[in-house]
Symmetry: C2
Subunit: 523 residues, 2 copies
């Protein structure tokens, strides 16, 4: 089902329930772009280390917005021997919820936008009706703001809500504001005297003046009045002071507090779904999911940490069990039979022998997707077929047991080898990023790091290495590339012959790596 700002709150219960009852979840995200700098192929260099890849994606991809999030929950129905799925397609947009809320800036990449436009993506749904969200720090700050406002409001009864973090001192009234405040005091004294009037509207004034008024009132009149800020049509803000007895005052405070809690929940918005997924500790599958995971953490938890190591820690807190179907499909025993691991091709391939299409139906009241008429690149649909791929591949593994096991549970030892390993796109010799420990460090003793003038083309590199037989070029940027030779023994020859070259420079991968770390240590 489609979930937007309009129907989010009404369906949140349904969403929580679907997550709670599920055996596993599948997710997918659509972004407003991929790279704000290097071309995709330079962003995904064949000899990136996991750390380098992380740093590049962090630097060049996190400015984009994750604006559609697909969640598909799968629950096995034993009696009917089939999976029942519920698919949600969320539209996400950081709508500012008040004058003081974060005003998010995000980047759009025209090729990505154009690609989605061609897929029939509905941008109006995102921008006019996307669900807002806050990360944890923003949520904390907003909560504090409410607490502080409450502690400013008059009445001893509210003091208990003052945030322990609120270190703010009371403001002393500046000289030029004293007259203003005195005048307010006089008028309130008048109000309290007069039997016939029950409230007083002050003139619109500045936020600082309102702060002074609140502060003065809570100190001078802890009881007997209720203070509230109201906005005129012209968006000017003014204060209304009303006489109330203690009971009425408390009742009003309570109503306000409930309202505030609801506002807070609304502002946290879609992040509540991610919190629910995290708290469920369920298996979450995705296809080629590194960017999805990075965006999810970045947008709904916290800005991405400096170092890959910390990212791994945060990620395993938020998603204790991840499985990447692209990695699974690229690994034995699937690798041998699956030539194309792109999501659409994989889904088609897994319907045919030796695999078999999984039995999955959509739950009652949930629209069903038709895999024949593809709706590829809608996040909800992509999450759905990612789930199908996972089920097929897991069943295939189960078929080797005796007796064969079907379905394979999300906790099965059979799929454990694939847990918490995220596919690394286009890296030649490191298949995955390992969230649970150190990454693989393959030998790169046949790789050269070459720098040259920016006029050079691939053909110049072929020319330079023409004596070395078959080579492979991986562009880093305009003026550097990795060149892999077929024989590690040739590496030193190449380096030696280049000693006196002026226009270009050749280093071994080890030297490159050493320098890079040196630079980092120096900061």
């Amino acid at each position: 089902m489609e979930v937007t700002r309009s129907n989010f709150k009404d369906n949140l219960g349904k969403i929580y329930e679907a997550i709670e009852e599920a055996d596993f979840l599948a997710i997918d995200g659509e972004f407003s772009g991929i790279s704000d700098g290097p071309s995709v192929s330079a962003l995904t260099n064949g000899f990136d280390t996991p750390e380098e890849r992380y740093q590049k994606l962090k630097k060049h991809s996190m400015g984009f917005l994750l604006f559609q999030f697909g969640l598909c929950t799968f629950k096995y129905n034993l009696t009917e021997a089939k999976y029942v799925m519920k698919s949600f397609n969320f539209y996400i947009f950081p709508k500012p919820f008040s004058r003081t809320s974060p005003d998010v800036k995000f980047v759009c990449q025209s090729s990505s936008i154009d690609f989605l436009a061609n897929q029939g993506f509905d941008f109006n749904k995102v921008f006019c009706n996307g669900i807002p969200y806050l990360n944890q720090e923003e949520e904390r700050q907003l909560r504090e703001q409410y607490d502080e406002k409450r502690s400013q409001a008059n009445g001893a009864g509210t003091l208990s809500y003052v945030s322990p973090n609120a270190t703010k001192h009371p403001v002393t009234i500046p000289e030029d504001q004293k007259k203003f405040i005195e005048n307010v005091v006089e008028r309130i004294e008048e109000l309290l005297q007069k039997e016939e009037s029950s409230s007083l509207e002050l003139e619109p004034c500045t936020g600082f003046q309102r702060k002074l008024i609140y502060q003065m009132l809570s100190w001078k009149y802890p009881k007997g009045i209720h203070v509230e800020t109201v906005e005129t049509d012209k968006k000017e803000r003014y204060i209304i002071v009303s006489k109330v007895d203690e009971e009425e005052r408390k009742r009003r405070e309570q109503v306000k507090q409930v309202k505030e809690q609801e506002e807070l929940n609304d502002a946290v918005g879609f992040s509540r779904v991610i919190h629910a997924i995290a708290n469920s500790r369920k298996l979450v599958v995705g296809h080629n999911m590194l960017l999805d995971v990075m965006h999810t953490i970045h947008q709904f938890y916290c800005p991405l940490p400096e170092e890959l190591g910390e990212f791994k820690e945060v990620t395993t807190c938020v998603f204790p069990r991840l499985l990447d179907t692209k990695l699974m499909a690229s690994t034995a025993p699937f690798k041998e039979t699956i030539s194309n691991t792109s999501l659409a091709e994989l889904e088609k391939r897994l319907k045919e022998r030796p695999f078999s299409p999984p039995k999955v139906e959509s739950a009652e009241g949930f629209p069903s997707y038709d895999t024949a008429s593809e709706q590829l690149h809608e996040a909800g649909y992509d999450a759905y077929i990612t789930g199908l791929c996972f089920i097929s591949m897991a069943s295939f593994l189960g078929s080797f047991l005796s007796p064969p096991k079907n379905p394979v549970s999300a906790n099965s030892k059979l799929i454990e080898p694939f847990f918490n390993k995220l596919f690394l796109m286009r890296v030649m010799d490191i298949p995955y990023l390992n969230l649970e420990g150190p990454d693989l460090e393959p030998k790169r003793d046949h790789v050269l790091y070459v720098t040259f003038p920016k006029e050079w083309k691939t053909s110049d590199l072929y020319q330079l290495f023409r004596a070395f037989g078959k080579i492979q070029v991986s562009w880093i940027d305009d003026t550097s590339a990795f060149v892999s030779l077929s024989q590690p023994e040739q590496v030193q020859i190449a380096v030696n012959t280049s000693k006196y070259a002026e226009s270009y420079r050749i280093q071994t991968y080890a030297e490159y790596s050493e320098n890079k770390h040196g630079e980092k240590r120096q900061g």
Copy 2:
């Protein structure tokens, strides 16, 4: 009328005609955001110099996309004594037109997007159907690419189209490609021998290999064959070589050339409208138009120049006569009678005495706007009412002549004082940016530049200057502000008393200004 990618080409003639026949033009732009850094009030500090304001807008506003452009043309009909207007509302989007075209990244500000969403803005029209554009450098590059491709194609007849800038040397065939090329030559020889076959499809190969093939063919077979690159369903590119006589070859070249010219025009897209406006040298009016002008130059001509002086030069080339209705309304004799110069309020005010609503009708076949049911913040509508405001104010000036003059022509001496002066938002003592010469340099001898810890609030500043009577604070950023005192004589006292202060620092505006220029000279 609404103009999108779908109907742009069909209506371009109409647009050119409207510009050509017009007495004056009104324009307006809608952007995907305003500021990617400072809040709007810090971006528009009360004591910015025009140079500082230019630098801030250049740095913090040009990352956004101008994605809707309103153009309204006005032509006076003498016999009917009324203006006839044609209004165009263009949707703009930098859709990449080929694999090698610029992939524009632009920023969106969620508050601006939300604001437009609330006005009913149609984002799908922008992103799915916006008109593309190129700036002058991109257009030049694309033209060169076509020229180069043409010069690579075989046949002496095409050599005359080689761009004079094409300094590219022929590529020498690298060792590892020699076999490949030899094989191609063999197969073409075969083709030329065999009576019965008229063409040859080569296998898909890399761009570099295609380049080598083109080069070799044009050298080896200047006549008698036609070469063309075709794409398979899978987006692989391969070359087809056909036997043709000289006439047929020339005909094909010509067809191709016409097609290329059309592709080039399509890519230049909306920029052609801006070129037409520029070439018309007509009066262009806008309301608070500095950002509109900056975005227009930046997006459709060239990245904004480093210095304000150069910006003024470029701008007067593109728009030889600009008039800002917000500046006009804020200047005598209008200033006295017009209290609110925001576009919507101004338009309403100018319908009442002593002004009178202009007689304007939309041209036949053009939809008319109803100013009663406002469609504010649609660029076409905003351009329209900007035009109305200009006509009313100009007529008002004309009414003082004897005999009164109505309408006032776009060349009239009466409005000359307002030419090429762009309103400077919220600057206290410099009303406009002067495009035709040096800017005003008012005395700022009552202004202090104060720096302080970022915990400080406005109230701390009031506190600090409590001895100096009424002050005014203009925030620069978290840790600095301008404070204006009522008496210039107090300035030195304030500076002196702060000599030994540790937490804050006070400088005169002159000192601040001196330092800033010093930094720039060193920078």
